[in-house]
């Protein structure tokens, strides 16, 4: 494992809300091409950790490095431009834009041409075609010109991923990508995620253990804001502590 190049590293991240410590000394390494799952019971601080890594929140202490570069103080948009992108557990889309407009916007921002106010949008040929390719890859081509708010929920979840891909990420953090999606559709969604380009490192939060064990190469177990265990799926599956705090709880779900 250690041979692979580390793309994302967090070092002793700490975050507290008032007297509540939600992130405790989290040190992680995500190698290139990783497919890591982040699991843990509700309230373990999984989303907070993603917020810290992507810059929606600032850690009280600790540091974050992307491809060897310290990004702890960098704003979210800058991190995205450097290749660190996330999706949201609750759809955070542009309801009145169409999918093709939304991905084209993300590509235009990536290429730093979004501020051009004199060139017609349709003249950004390469961006539109790339955006359409992304949509096609996620089976959204047929609805590319429909208003986002009118799309079925499952397709909106896919659009979340499409928007993230349009930023051309090196590291992709997926916050419960299949949240609220029926089980059969969520398997399809994860097959899309599994098919992402090899050089993208993926860290995903997911509650369905079947999915976690079939798609993750490695699992990070977060409990009460701290990393309880980081190991291969087989190890996590049989670890008594994990069974106790997590799988035991999930068993009735």
């Amino acid at each position: 494992m250690s041979a692979a190049e580390v793309v994302l590293r967090t070092e002793a991240l700490e975050k507290r809300f008032g007297s509540l410590k939600v992130t405790r000394g989290v040190t992680l390494e995500l190698p290139r091409g990783a497919r890591y799952a982040l699991i843990g019971p509700n309230g373990a601080g999984k989303t907070t950790l993603i917020n810290l890594i992507t810059g929606q929140m600032r850690p009280d202490s600790g540091s974050i490095a992307l491809a060897g570069r310290d990004i702890t103080a960098m704003p979210t948009a800058g991190r995205v431009q450097h290749g660190l992108t996330r999706t949201f557990q609750i759809n955070t889309l542009f309801p009145d834009l169409t999918p093709i407009e939304a991905v084209t916007l993300a590509i235009a921002e990536r290429e730093r041409v979004a501020g051009q106010f004199w060139r017609p949008l349709a003249a950004h040929k390469a961006a539109i075609e790339e955006g359409f390719e992304i949509l096609r890859g996620l089976r959204l081509a047929d609805v590319a010109t429909r208003t986002t708010r009118t799309l079925p929920y499952g397709q909106q979840r896919l659009l979340e991923i499409a928007l993230a891909l349009a930023t051309r990420p090196k590291v992709l953090l997926l916050d419960e990508p299949a949240a609220g999606v029926p089980k059969d559709e969520s398997a399809m969604l994860f097959s899309v995620i599994a098919g992402l380009p090899e050089d993208i490192s993926v860290l995903f939060i997911e509650h369905d253990m079947d999915i976690v064990f079939s798609f993750a190469s490695r699992i990070i177990v977060l409990v009460a804001g701290a990393v309880l265990l980081e190991a291969e799926p087989e190890v996590v599956r049989t670890d008594p502590r994990v069974r106790e705090v997590y799988l035991g709880q999930a068993a009735h779900g």
Binding site: T54, G55, P75, T76, A77, V80, Q81, T85, R86, F88, T92, L93, F94, P95, D96, L97, I100, E101, A102, T104, L105, A106, A108, E109, R110, V113, A114, G115, Q116, F117, W118, R119, P120, L121, A122, H124, K125, A127, I128, E129, G131, F132, R136, A141, D142, A144, T145, L163, A164, A166, T167
Partner: protein, 328 residues
């Protein structure tokens, strides 16, 4: 683009179509010429409408497209009006260059103000725009040595347009000039809203939280649009000065800031022409109602505003578009 799946649209063609001229649009601009022939006695009103419409379009850029609610945009209208007046008073009455200078001046002030504007949201943002508006009004009031204070700016003398067309009493030149200003302003905005920048503005309006997550430094976009909007508002103010040869303090008034938002809401936000339709309805209604009862005409504007907001939440143009079944 050869391997597009069946049924799926050509996205580029589709995007192109969205920015295409519609018949209604062309008909509208042709109809704008009608007052010359049908209502020659109302050309002064028509030019006031064109000026108010340009002002409303500038507010639509920030409010309708970027989602910045402003109750102080008269600040830029007034700055442009005073700038044009002072330039003329200083001895340079050439209208076109005066108009450009006034617009650029308002735009520069807008850019400076934008540094505060992009740092606040929601109620605080409305209060900041309101505060800036009040501030500029009282500043102009206090600096009566420059602005003439409540007496208004006297001695503005606008030279004939192109050195040939006097601004006459009947308002022929005034309406031609104001209408041309409106047309150019709308064409500039039209070009802008159909660019990637316009798309980014809609993105900000639709979900500002997502913008940083797609790598957008959206504050820079907001600053740009705010400055451009201020420049257009300033140009509208300059048009008023140049077509009336006077500037009164009410160009900076809160009333003007509020009225322009009312016009925009009446006509419909986020569609450029909404502000124009709103300005026509508002000012024609004022003209007619004030003829019936000069004191209480505003009552009916209040009624109209409430009816429109309740029955057609996306404004009159939005309501018409839905009726026509071309909901976009």
């Amino acid at each position: 683009m050869s391997e597009i799946a069946r049924n799926s649209p050509d996205p580029r063609l589709w995007l192109k179509q969205r920015s295409r001229w519609s018949i209604v649009e062309i008909a509208f601009w042709l109809a704008a010429l009608l007052p010359f022939f049908l209502f020659p006695a109302y050309l002064t009103l028509a030019s006031q409408i064109a000026i108010a419409a340009l002002f409303a379009v500038s507010v639509d850029l920030v409010l309708g497209y970027a989602g910045i609610v402003t109750l102080g945009h008269a600040m830029f209208f007034g700055l442009g009006a005073y700038a044009a007046g002072l330039i003329s008073k200083a001895g340079w009455g050439e209208p076109l260059s005066g108009l450009v200078m006034a617009g650029v001046f308002a735009g520069l002030v807008g850019y400076v103000a934008s540094f505060i504007i992009v740092r606040v949201q929601h109620l605080a943002l409305i209060m900041i725009t309101l505060g800036l508006g009040i501030l500029s009004y009282e500043l102009a009031n206090a600096m009566s040595w420059l602005t003439g204070g409540t007496d208004g700016l006297q001695g503005v003398d606008t030279w004939p347009l192109f050195g040939a067309f006097e601004f006459d009493l009947w308002g022929k030149t005034a309406y031609s000039y104001a209408l041309a200003g409106l047309f150019i302003g709308v064409m500039v905005c039209r070009r802008m809203v159909h660019s990637s920048f316009g798309l980014a503005l809609r993105g900000i309006r639709e979900n500002v939280r997502r913008m940083p997550a797609i790598g957008s430094d959206y504050r820079a976009h907001l600053q740009t649009v705010y400055a451009i909007s201020a420049a257009i508002a300033g140009a509208a103010g300059a048009l008023l000065t140049q077509t009336t040869d006077t500037v009164s303090l009410d160009v900076l008034s809160f009333q003007r800031s509020a009225d322009v938002v009312v016009m925009l809401i009446l006509g419909g936000t986020g569609r450029l022409y909404g502000g124009i339709v709103g300005a026509i309805i508002f000012l024609v209604a004022r003209d007619q109602l004030a003829g019936i009862n000069p004191q209480y005409w505003y009552f009916w504007i209040g009624v109209l505003l409430m009816v429109v907001v309740l029955v057609m939440p996306s404004g009159i143009l939005g309501g018409l578009a839905r009726l026509a079944g071309k909901r976009d």
